[in-house]
Symmetry: C2
Subunit: 512 residues, 2 copies
């Protein structure tokens, strides 16, 4: 399968995807005006176009969390060091990337240079995640089975001091939601872990139009302190994997660390079972790398900040009134139509700029539908339609009333097209491989383009040992993305590296 690249013009993004994928990614973000680096090392500024996309992500996910009984709350940004230390694996996992507050004011020294002053007795860690501080509160809130289940979510900023950062994908500060729940039984906590995984999968596929595999992480990739980490994994257009959301079954590890106990109906005291789960602004990076093309961003209609842009084409001043009045009529009627539970988001672009420039700007920003309307269109009761999922050559004239009636179908058809295209791409780049030579060749020399990335997803048997997992990673830079939940393996075979008998096929890939 080939991605559509229009041949009638130079592409709007330079370089193209298959020339230099990482640089293409940066350029798409820049040209779509979604985010940029800030003067603060590793921290980005999310610009309005990127932030509105995140608001739409938040709104839809938040609905799904609330529909399944979760409520939002807010916990402190700071975690006292002694709380972080309560769960040994947890603090070990995050110690290397913690921003630490040590002072609480600034004071001028003799040379009038401002210096940190007011040293804190105990350093405060800026939350890299909130299990420990939330656990501390849960231990106060939970007394009896009547307080359970406790189903809390938080929308917040998080800091992890990453050495190599990339806009949206890995930044020192990022925005996310983190769910934290406590349950009476292991079974109930496990069901919650799966419920959330399914919400994430549903959201990824039906809103972001990104097909995902669901599976379990190996110990190497597990959340520090978790018993099991489930995940959704997506394939980007450079055929690398992006972990797009995780749902952790924490067993009683954090309950024991934070002493979260409840009295059951019989009066016995037990530790609760907890889960935690999160997705972040990384999802936006995923949408760019799955849907973007050589002309820029390509937004899934359900989440697009603007779904339809109307561009008046005015060449003579004398046409202005007529064109604008016709455009306003179209805009008004479109805004009254519903799509995905909301009124359609339409923008009438009357800015004093060249129409071609404006059309390219919205193309690069990824707006699903652009309608150009000039005197000739009006004469024929038409609008001129550009679908962002298709080549510019396929733009077409449509009767105004038909387009207005059909707009919901057009948006849904774009949504479906993006998903189908991404799924085909993933299928075309996923292989079942049963011998290590082919495996190695797949990931090193089976080169499809000049982007420098080889292979894609490999489905292969794995014996379950960390040794084999690490060796493969050392040799090829390929990791186990997950032990899939939704791919049925009926037979057994030999571990791709050591040859031991295994009934477990896992997904190998290079990853972000």
């Amino acid at each position: 399968m080939e991605f559509i690249v229009s041949k009638e013009h130079k592409t709007a993004i330079n370089p193209k995807r298959n020339e230099n994928f990482p640089e293409w990614y940066q350029q798409v973000i820049k040209e779509a005006d979604m985010a940029e680096n800030s003067p603060v090392r590793g921290c980005m500024v999310i610009k309005p176009w990127g932030y509105t996309l995140w608001e739409n992500v938040q709104k839809e996910l938040d609905n799904k969390f609330k529909q399944t009984g979760h409520v939002n709350a807010y916990f402190p940004l700071f975690i006292p060091l002694h709380l972080m230390e309560k769960e040994a694996k947890h603090v070990k996992g995050f110690a290397k990337e913690c921003a630490v507050v040590t002072h609480h004011r600034l004071e001028a020294d003799k040379k009038e240079v401002l210096k940190p002053a007011g040293k804190l007795e105990e350093p405060l860690v800026i939350r890299p995640t909130s299990e420990t501080i939330i656990g501390e509160m849960f231990s106060k809130w939970i007394q009896s089975y009547r307080d359970l289940p406790l189903l809390i979510n938080q929308w917040a900023n998080i800091v992890r001091w990453e050495m190599r950062t990339r806009l949206f994908l890995r930044t020192t500060e990022f925005l996310w939601q983190e769910g934290h729940t406590a349950h009476q039984t292991e079974k109930e906590a496990w069901e919650e872990t799966l419920t959330i995984l399914n919400i994430y999968k549903d959201f990824a596929e039906n809103y972001m139009a990104i097909p995902v595999l669901t599976g379990e992480k190996t110990e190497n990739e597990r959340f520090p302190g978790a018993v099991k980490t489930l995940c959704i994994e997506a394939m980007m257009q450079d055929r690398k994997a992006l972990q797009s959301g995780t749902s952790h079954f924490l067993g009683q590890n954090f309950a024991k660390a934070s002493n979260i106990q409840f009295q059951d109906r019989k009066g016995n005291l037990s530790y609760v079972w907890t889960t935690s789960w999160g997705v972040s602004t990384r999802l936006i990076g995923g949408m760019i790398m799955v849907h973007g093309d050589d002309n820029g961003m390509c937004l899934p209609p359900r989440l697009a900040p603007t779904q339809v842009v109307v561009l008046p084409i005015i060449k003579e001043e004398s046409d202005k009134e007529k064109v604008l009045s016709y455009c306003n009529e179209v805009v008004g009627k479109l805004r009254n139509q519903q799509y995905s539970g909301n009124n359609i988001r339409v923008y009438l672009d009357t800015r004093d700029r060249n129409a071609g420039e404006k059309s390219w700007e919205w193309t690069k920003k990824g707006v699903p539908v652009i309608l150009e309307i000039g005197p000739r269109d009006i004469k024929n009761d038409n609008v001129f339609v550009a679908r962002r999922d298709r080549s510019r050559k396929e733009r077409y004239s449509q009767k105004k009333d038909v387009l207005i009636d059909e707009i919901t179908d057009v948006l849904e058809s774009i949504q479906a097209a993006l998903f189908d295209r991404a799924r085909s791409f993933r299928e075309d780049n996923t292989r079942e491989i049963d011998d290590y030579n082919s495996f190695k060749q797949y990931f090193t020399s089976d080169k499809k383009d000049t982007s420098g990335i080889f292979g894609g997803f490999a489905l292969s048997y794995w014996c379950g040992s960390q040794e084999c997992e690490n060796k493969i990673n050392d040799e090829l830079g390929v990791t186990i993305r997950c032990i899939p939940l939704d791919i049925k393996i009926s037979s057994k075979g030999k571990c791709i590296l050591c040859g031991k008998i295994s009934t477990q096929k896992v997904v190998f890939a290079r990853a972000y």
Copy 2:
């Protein structure tokens, strides 16, 4: 005017407002389960009932900002020290309360004790407000008049290291929105400052049901770095003032500090004119202190997380099915009604607890309408209605269908009653005072109750000197809350302290 205190029972909150207002405030928050202190000094946890109220505040304000052309974005939590220092008054104003990040990891020492490690070359201040970091970005984004106006808002967490903290009113970390805008002309920036002030006033009065005075701050109370600070000020039930929102006209101060210049239509380079403005989770404290009574919180219906609670009264197991089915019918029909642009938020409380206990719980949480429904009500096609703005003695039976038809009116009537009550209270406790003896008496011995607070708002002439302002504050602990915009002063008089001729009456009060 007296606040309604039911005499048929002990009040649910102990102490009462007029016994110990500060302690009453803490108890209302506790009993309504809105927030609590965390293990982190000065930082609170906002619990679901308090956070949902904040979400409703956010939703309504966000709509108003968007309707007036603002867009949301997100800027870094961290501000490098050198950026903070660019505006001299600004950094001086915030230096004493800045949390400072100095290290980026944790490392075990020889005794296996974790210590901050990886010292940063330049300390990072956690934003106490974001003028400097946003100004830095604006200086890159703004080149020409075509980039103006730039109208940005951010929803974020903020840290100011306060020594004495109180839930919602003053916490080390708090949540807020901060608007930052840039304009071509002084006039346009000033109009923006006023537009936002009016949005805040409209929101306070029509959503929070809190009457506010609008005015300008004196230099003493001005935002560090601003040319003018406008504010909304509300009166709490202890007759102290709460600054509830501020809108700053920054002139070209920050534009010069951050070098934000644009080329106008003629090609000339000029500094932009900027504004900034914000409201915070402090608003929730204001709603508690204005509307709460001796039975707990009293929520303005437009913002209440739940507007109607339906309580099934089941004494015999044999009644259960009939009662629940009737309740479900009522709930379904209520949810189909619209109030203030949304479906009515109804909760059916079927939890396995005593009905009296549940009724008191919702009373303390401040739900506007509680409907109790038992077999006798059903027999008469009735529901038993408790309005939170009225005494429990005034509960009444109403025909089910009438109540369902009227529910929007009932909610709106409660909304209006809360506002009217608060406005009467403020009017009853505002005095025009023209001589210092009466002024002093008003604020020191004109004691109305045992809460330890004297006076209220005093409207008095002021000569405009900081000297008089400071003397009054030193002697009485009373500050100028604002130079009012919406109270017309037609004559002139003598400064309340020094006797100089003045045409400026200002609002004096004790304040939070």
